[in-house]
Assembly symmetry: C2
Homo-oligomer: 261 residues x 2
């Protein structure tokens, strides 16, 4: 059992929880909690850590017998966990590397893509990834200024969808949007200047939606690349919707149009 | 200028930020930031507090001239503010008291009501209130076990909608749902057992949606009161949507149906 915070593995876990750069260098991220650890595929699993108390829970004995893991004292586990009341199990998991090409060349699915520009709130981004899986999104492209999708709060908000939705980190968002357009994917931006309401467009063919930063919206450079602006009507004095809510309305409109045929 | 945390007003502000019970007893809540303070109506305003630094900002001099306020030293202001980087202005504001009767007897609007049972996440509840205003919701009913809607995090997430959406605290949620039904309002519950998808129902007449707790969903007692269950279709392995996302889809479906006529 590890019970020192000077242990190199413990130090590394703390860095992985806090530093986006360290996660990127090692090509991994951390998942916490029994449910998501059980959903992890063996090929992606690097290492499991459990707390001493967790190792004594009868219910998980069978599950633990088939795995290799490291036991941390409860106080050390609490130090490395990101949650306030940790369940006592976490894992280091390898990232999947996707490219825009890989997403758009999957011809078995009609493209349904989300492009996120500089979103900052981890809860919003996690919720968008969770909803994206539910709405059948075929890929998400995020720029460098978007909050790290491997941030523990993002991971938690995805409720496991982080494993299942292809997500691409874009070095050049403009270039990647142009790649979508060259494939015949129609690019929409949610924008207050939209002429049509979002439900008046047809999303049955390849479709991508660009979503901008929570406070500032889309940059002009990126907004200019859209084929079409759509607006989400709003009553009252509301100036904008939450970014996760706006994205969800667009994704579900697309899903429902395709379901209806 | 107040510069002691033993000052009774400072003590009261700290209690109001932290204790739902104290907010309730005094019938008030706190709003923070220049934008929401400026949106506050005089009839609801109890008192404004600003930081010493804020009092010196030229831009707000005109605004401050027309008001009475108390100046707190910057360090005391930071103590009473809920935000990490406070703008330097907050206000104590009176609550509006609504009743179910008041909401449903407004015959100028077709009822579009949201019933929240035991929602726990302040960000979710705030986002729901914000989206509700945008979607033209005519009232929200929440039970006692729902997170306090006057919690500072809820207020912040509403982006001002807390002032504009009628919200009723229900002592007896079952009774209040029955009152809606007696008025001819059709009560829907978002439920995995729903037979029809949410977009297959007609919400042009008086409509209410019941939304359950993030983890546990609706209690059987409340779910049984619904006239109809609707499901939100989901691809992939997602088990449920975020509560704010699910509510938003239902509210916007209602709004869009009514806009289309």
């Amino acid at each position: 059992m590890i019970n020192s915070n000077k242990n190199p593995q413990v130090k590394n876990l703390m860095l992985l929880q806090k530093k986006s750069k360290v996660r990127k260098e090692q090509g991994v991220f951390i998942v916490e909690g029994i449910k998501i650890v059980m959903e992890t595929s063996f090929e992606r699993l690097e290492k499991i850590y459990i707390s001493e108390s967790f190792s004594k829970i009868d219910e998980y004995r069978g599950f633990l017998e088939s795995l290799k893991y490291e036991i941390l004292s409860d106080s050390i586990f609490a130090t490395v966990a990101d949650t306030v009341t940790p369940q006592g199990i976490l894992a280091i998991v390898k990232r999947n590397i996707y490219s825009v090409e890989k997403i758009i060349t999957d011809k078995t699915k009609i493209a349904h893509i989300l492009v996120l520009e500089s979103l900052q709130d981890p809860g919003n981004v996690g919720t968008i990834i969770r909803t994206a899986e539910a709405a059948g999104v075929t890929g998400i492209i995020v720029n460098d200024e978007t909050v790290d999708i491997y941030n523990p709060k993002v991971i938690r908000s995805t409720m496991g969808a982080i494993y299942r939705v292809p997500i691409v980190y874009s070095d050049n968002l403009s270039d990647d949007i142009l790649k979508l357009k060259r494939e015949g994917i129609k690019v929409y931006a949610a924008h207050l200047k939209g002429e049509n309401a979002y439900y008046e467009e047809n999303y049955r063919q390849g479709t991508a939606f660009i979503i901008g930063n929570e406070g500032k919206g889309l940059s002009k450079e990126i907004a200019d690349l859209a084929d079409c602006y759509v607006k989400i009507p709003m009553c009252g004095e509301v100036e904008s919707l939450n970014a996760a809510v706006a994205s969800s309305l667009l994704m579900y409109e697309t899903m429902v149009q395709r379901l209806k045929g």
